[in-house]
């Protein structure tokens, strides 16, 4: 299925600056979700890329021609409302069709699937990933570590998870990673991706501890095969400390 792997073509880009959209921060922003936007901006600018970022509230139309769309976590009511608004708007689906990147965490990840539960009711998701979410037996709260699908060429995923849902992947979605510690989707796999749409249960500023994942999103968006290295002194130390805390 190599056609599903990123091709390196920047088909979603129409302007010279990298365009980042934070989708509905009024609904999908629980705890540090802004961090993913800040980290992508920081890492793009550090490579000399011009960046534009916009925060689009749920009462506004979503732009169709951005390079990366970010979806954060949210409370049940807000999550259901966001799914309803995004399906009605349609712009995110059209953007994905032309190759834009989507990175979603936690509740945002769940709503990329075909269905999810909020307030004990099943809601239709966006159907951008072949997965569905339901309620788990307990809330998964704590450190999460997982070995990433080798095709993505990333080091171990590390983050903090905080969710009551369990996510079940259909054949059209690839697991992002295999769980080493924590719960993730179902205790075995964590996250999912297909094409340039990627979701994870590492909530909040997931990219803070996973700079290589941030760079993967930037490479997908720009078509660059590689990006100039950055000083990773502090992120390396943080990753080592967090992964060591699990042993």
């Amino acid at each position: 299925m190599s056609s599903e792997l990123p091709t390196g073509l920047a088909t979603g880009r129409t302007e010279s600056a990298l365009r980042l959209v934070w989708v509905y921060p009024d609904l999908l922003s629980t705890y540090g979700d802004r961090g993913n936007l800040l980290i992508l901006v920081h890492r793009a600018r550090a490579r000399g890329m011009p960046v534009e970022s916009v925060e689009v509230r749920s009462d506004q139309r979503l732009p169709e021609q951005a390079d990366i769309y970010l979806l954060g976590g949210g409370e049940d009511g807000a999550q259901a409302f966001a799914a309803q608004r995004l399906n009605a708007d349609g712009a995110l689906h059209r953007a994905v069709d032309v190759g834009s990147v989507v990175f979603a965490v936690c509740a945002g990840y769940q709503l990329l699937g075909t269905s999810f539960y909020a307030k004990d009711t099943e809601h239709a998701g966006l159907g951008l990933l072949d997965l569905r979410s339901d309620r788990g037996p307990n809330r998964a709260v704590g450190e999460l570590a997982a070995t990433v699908d080798p095709r993505l060429g990333l080091p171990t995923l590390t983050g903090f998870e905080n969710h009551g849902g369990r996510t079940h992947l259909g054949p059209e979605a690839y697991p992002l990673a295999r769980v080493v510690a924590g719960v993730g989707n179902d205790g075995t796999y964590e996250g999912a991706y297909r094409g340039r749409v990627l979701g994870t249960y590492c909530h909040g500023p997931a990219l803070a501890r996973n700079p290589a994942l941030a760079d993967l999103l930037l490479r997908w968006a720009t078509g660059a095969d590689a990006l100039p290295p950055l000083d990773e002194t502090w992120t390396d130390k943080l990753r080592q400390e967090r992964l060591a805390s699990l042993r």
């Binding site: 009511g77 501890r209 502090w234 943080l238």
Partner: protein
């Protein structure tokens, strides 16, 4: 009336024993240096008499103070204001769960009044146990989401608690939509405006989930009739404006605009008990430190000031209070802090640019990565002591989250 007479006349035998055990355990805890005794005594007392808090509360006129931020300081200021009327029992060590309330009331003996800080999760239970005259609802924002309830859920719980006690007078923050919605079922509400710098948790209407539109200090739901109530008490710069339009200059020893808001709340609560603002103001000005918070300490020629910041909203307030001096940031993620450090990315640290910044604490590396992204230069120090040595004589501001603050406070010999 002496404490002994109070115990004999008012408390059932079981409660009397429980109260005595509670007091001696608290004294033992303090004497052995294990703690300030605010909690252990209350826990022991409640084991002997589960209704001890209700027994100790009976006969007192009580105000409860709750909210995500500012409750310890507002409790301290309200206690000072109520002091105009006579002795006031209070849990002044920030021990804000029922065990702390029990210990505080047992230790205080008979007082006609009590002002109790209440952890927001325990408000319903403490309302039921203490039958207060007044409940002050300050604010609700994200705080330790890995264990605490989400903000909308917390507002729902508050609203249920208020609905279950229609007779209690509620003093509520008109600037926080979550608080306003929670307070509205009360028969009788005094609204205050203390400002809401942190608005990220109240963009969605708690009543109908439509968007909340803001216009200056006003706010209104686009989908239902929830809107900002007209406040009777307002904090403006260094002035509190009362319900009759009278303006009171507030001269506080505590820093920051947020504390003028806390003072307005304290005056509004005390007014319900008959305290005139003019009588209370001098007492508010005497409050210089609250359980070590805001305390200034001399150490090796440095003037160290301790500011507590537990969540995004309170970090923003701390930056407003801190002077442009060398600043140490200390962050832990132990159970009382919440195990998750994601909130660091909700805080904009850019106000610290241009001053020497140091980071320390269990989670200094999370802070380091955050500051790097925020383009705030910093150095990493192993401890508070190293930070003191790293700065020239003069002021050192310390902003720390809960257990990091307690660690530094312990190092400074439990400064009060």
């Amino acid at each position: 009336m002496t404490e002994g007479a109070f115990t004999r006349q008012r408390l059932p035998l079981r409660a009397k024993l429980a109260s005595a055990v509670s007091r001696s355990a608290g004294a033992l805890s303090r004497a052995t240096g294990r703690g300030d005794g605010s909690v252990i005594g209350g826990r022991l007392g409640m084991l002997i008499d589960p209704d001890l808090l209700a027994h100790l509360a009976a006969g007192r006129r009580i105000a409860l103070i709750s909210g995500t931020n500012g409750k310890t300081t507002t409790t301290r200021l309200t206690t000072a204001a109520m002091g105009v009327l006579g002795p006031v029992a209070t849990n002044s060590f920030g021990a804000n769960m029922p065990s702390g309330h029990t210990a505080a009331l047992a230790r205080a003996g008979h007082t006609p009044y009590a002002v109790l800080e209440v952890d927001e999760h325990y408000l319903a239970r403490v309302l039921a146990d203490t039958n207060p005259a007044v409940v002050a609802l300050l604010n609700l924002s994200r705080d330790q989401l890995d264990r605490a309830m989400e903000v909308a859920m917390m507002a729902t719980r508050w609203r249920e608690a208020v609905t279950a006690h229609p007779g209690v007078h509620v003093v509520a923050n008109a600037d926080d939509p979550m608080v306003a919605w929670a307070a509205l079922p009360a028969n009788d509400v005094t609204w205050f405006s203390a400002g809401q710098r942190w608005q990220e948790d109240s963009w969605v209407c708690p009543a109908c989930t439509s968007a909340i539109a803001r216009d200056g200090e006003g706010w209104a739901c686009a989908g239902c009739d929830l809107r900002r109530p007209q406040p009777q008490w307002t904090a403006e710069e260094d002035t509190v404006v009362g319900p009759d339009g009278a303006r009171y200059r507030v001269k506080l020893a505590l820093p920051g605009r947020v504390n003028v808001g806390n003072a307005a709340t304290a005056l509004a609560v005390a007014a319900r008990f008959g305290v005139r603002p003019a009588d209370a103001l001098p007492r508010l000005g005497e409050v210089a430190s609250v359980a070590g918070r805001y305390a200034q300490v001399e150490r090796d020629g440095r003037t160290v000031r301790l500011l507590l910041a537990k969540n995004p909203a309170s970090w923003l307030e701390a930056f407003d209070m801190a002077e442009p001096a060398p600043t140490l940031l200390a962050v832990n993620a132990r159970v009382p802090d919440g195990l998750d450090t994601s909130w660091l990315f909700d805080v904009d640290f850019s106000p610290l640019r241009g001053r020497p910044v140091m980071v320390t604490g269990d989670r200094a590396l999370d802070l380091a990565v955050r500051l790097e992204v925020n383009q705030v230069p910093f150095t990493h120090v192993a401890s508070f002591a190293d930070a003191v040595l790293a700065v020239p004589p003069g002021r050192l501001e310390v902003i720390a989250n809960y257990t990091a603050f307690q660690d530094i406070r312990a190092e400074l010999d439990r400064v009060l």
